[in-house]
């Protein structure tokens, strides 16, 4: 919180593609770059709330998005947890899906090609694993896919036992995953961090030191609801991950602290539901912003945010979003 930060964190590096990033940033007020890759706007539907885009592409042209992070992918296919997997909370929801996905083979052979029909941009590939090997294998496979622009490595899934979460709750294993994955990837690697920790800053710094090109936060907060008539947890998995506006202030403070402590770009997420939230998250230090639960309760949430951004920027005298990244942090 005390860390001084004068430079906006757009993750620019001295590489040709950054020129493109620069240009695109100058090209439009909403343009930003993420790990050197240009985005027409910072709005990115979060993994697990947007499937592979198909359901939303039926509703609107999802090419208006900066990009999106597709459903968490594991080495093997997974059914996930038993149902109920969803519970409602005040200003939010719990989910305990448990990384249901068809496995990396099918994702590469079926989902990503299908995606090409309605999404022309690079996509963010979200990866989870249960061992270092899992992460390395799945990331290497997806890194080789032309359509993939970024890898988002989830070391923080709260809903799989002995799964991703254990890698994300302390600095050393998170760093191990990072460096192992970096060895096999050419694309930018973004580590998705858990908020269920004492010191997220030290974990973020460890990932940066291990070569991460960026970090994204926050994943869901561990939560629970009980069915008081049945006298047992509402979720089959007992606990689940809390998301929605309820977690926004927690996400904001963690983004603020992490962005002040690392030089790599921070992707902010957690309860973002409107254009004002995107701007608040960027002022906290986010170079780009993921939108999660909002997509589920309002399928047009991201469309509305993208369309409203310019108007809201005007209202607050913001010419370029890239100028406000971290402005709230004057040390």
């Amino acid at each position: 919180m005390e860390g001084l930060k004068k430079e906006p964190k757009t993750g620019l590096k001295e590489e040709p593609k950054n020129a493109a990033g620069e240009k695109s940033r100058l090209a439009c007020g909403t343009c930003v770059t993420l790990c050197g890759e240009p985005l027409s706007n910072p709005v990115i539907p979060a993994s697990g709330t947007f499937g592979y885009g198909a359901e939303f592409a039926k509703l609107y042209d999802i090419n208006i998005l900066g990009t999106f992070s597709f459903k968490g992918t594991t080495r093997e296919p997974r059914y996930g947890n038993e149902t109920p997997r969803i519970a409602e909370c005040a200003s939010g929801m719990l989910n305990a899906v448990g990384l249901q996905n068809p496995g990396v083979d099918k994702v590469i052979s079926e989902e990503i090609p299908r995606m090409g029909k309605f999404f022309s941009k690079k996509v963010m590939a979200n990866v989870s694993g249960f061992s270092l090997d899992d992460y390395v294998y799945t990331c290497e496979r997806l890194d080789a896919v032309e359509k993939v622009g970024w890898l988002e490595v989830n070391v923080s899934c709260p809903n799989v036992h002995g799964g991703g979460m254990s890698f994300g709750t302390s600095a050393e294993p998170a760093a191990k995953v990072t460096s192992a994955v970096k060895k096999v990837c050419r694309k930018p690697v973004i580590i998705k961090l858990s908020p269920n920790v004492t010191d997220i800053v030290s974990i973020a710094k460890a990932c940066e030191a291990a070569g991460a090109d960026g970090v994204s936060l926050i994943n869901t907060l561990m939560g629970m609801r009980i069915d008081i008539s049945k006298r047992r947890p509402l979720l089959a998995n007992k606990t689940g991950g809390l998301s929605g506006p309820a977690v926004f202030p927690v996400a904001l403070s963690m983004v603020y602290k992490v962005a002040a402590a690392v030089k790599i770009p921070v992707v902010g997420m957690g309860g973002v539901s409107c254009a004002e939230d995107v701007i608040e998250m960027m002022m906290a230090g986010a170079a780009a912003v993921e939108v999660g639960a909002a997509n589920l309760v309002d399928p047009f949430a991201c469309k509305t945010i993208v369309e409203k951004l310019p108007e809201v920027m005007d209202r607050y005298g913001i010419k370029n979003l890239s100028d406000i990244i971290g402005v709230s942090n004057n040390g």
């Binding site: 459903k71 989910n95 899906v97």
Partner: protein
């Protein structure tokens, strides 16, 4: 799926803790029997998925039970208020395979989707036999409405025998039907599954995150793989169901 803003034309109690709401506005395309809508309620984060009971050109009717804060709040909404509704959700029942004598079995708020289904089947010239199960007389609704549609028989069962046949729907199943359609609590669906030889279709309930296939919150296993209750369902064919095979 479509997001529409519908006006409340009617919202009244029709049985114990059971409300009927009639909505007007753009309800095109015409809902299929077994499809549901997903309704936003102020002060509650998730939408409430409720199956369509009836629909014509201008109005859409739903029947819902007051079970918690959300439906409680819905029950207090006044005529003229506008609701944010996602329509055209779910696959709905397939009437093409029914044969000419269709058995409809509903339990509690599983009854409403069968009303639109009965309407459709009868319009297709098929005979409809309805068995409607409730806990007690005060919860019974739509017996007359099914008769008015021209169902060949409408049998009501109540667990306490306070109305119609005493017992469960499976205690009052007529013979000689070519196919069945059912909707209700899972124990009832399981009982129907075991009681009937003929093929049929089941409409399932599950807690949903989105209701349109994005969140994988309502997945179930079927013989043809994992399915999302909200989009691949809520209606599954008997032969798709694995979990009750024993």
């Amino acid at each position: 799926m479509k997001q529409v803003f519908l006006k409340i034309k009617e919202n009244q109690l029709i049985a114990k803790n059971t409300m009927r709401m009639v909505l007007t506005g753009d309800i095109s395309p015409a809902p299929q029997p077994g499809q549901f809508v997903n309704i936003k309620t102020d002060g509650f984060y998730l939408r409430r998925p409720i199956s369509v009971c009836d629909a014509d050109g201008e109005t859409l009717t739903i029947i819902y039970k007051i079970v918690g804060g959300g439906t409680e709040k819905m029950s207090k909404l006044a005529r003229g208020e506008t609701l944010d509704v996602l329509t055209g959700l779910g696959n709905g029942y397939d009437t093409s395979v029914s044969g000419d004598r269709a058995l409809l079995i509903g339990g509690g708020v599983g009854v409403p989707p069968l009303y639109l289904l009965a309407k459709r089947l009868i319009s297709e010239g098929k005979d409809v036999f309805a068995v409607l199960g409730f806990n007690t007389a005060s919860e019974v609704f739509y017996e007359d409405e099914f008769k008015a549609l021209g169902a060949k028989s409408v049998t009501v069962t109540t667990v306490d025998g306070s109305r119609g046949v005493k017992g469960f729907v499976t205690d009052a199943l007529p013979c000689g039907c070519t196919y069945f359609y059912t909707c209700g609590p899972e124990p009832m669906l399981r009982a129907v599954y075991k009681a009937l030889e003929t093929d049929g279709q089941f409409s399932f309930e599950e807690r949903m995150g989105c209701g349109f296939g994005a969140c994988m919150g309502c997945t179930c296993r079927t013989v043809t793989g994992y399915k999302r209750i909200c989009t691949d369902g809520p209606v599954l064919k008997k032969e798709e169901i694995v979990s009750w095979k024993d």
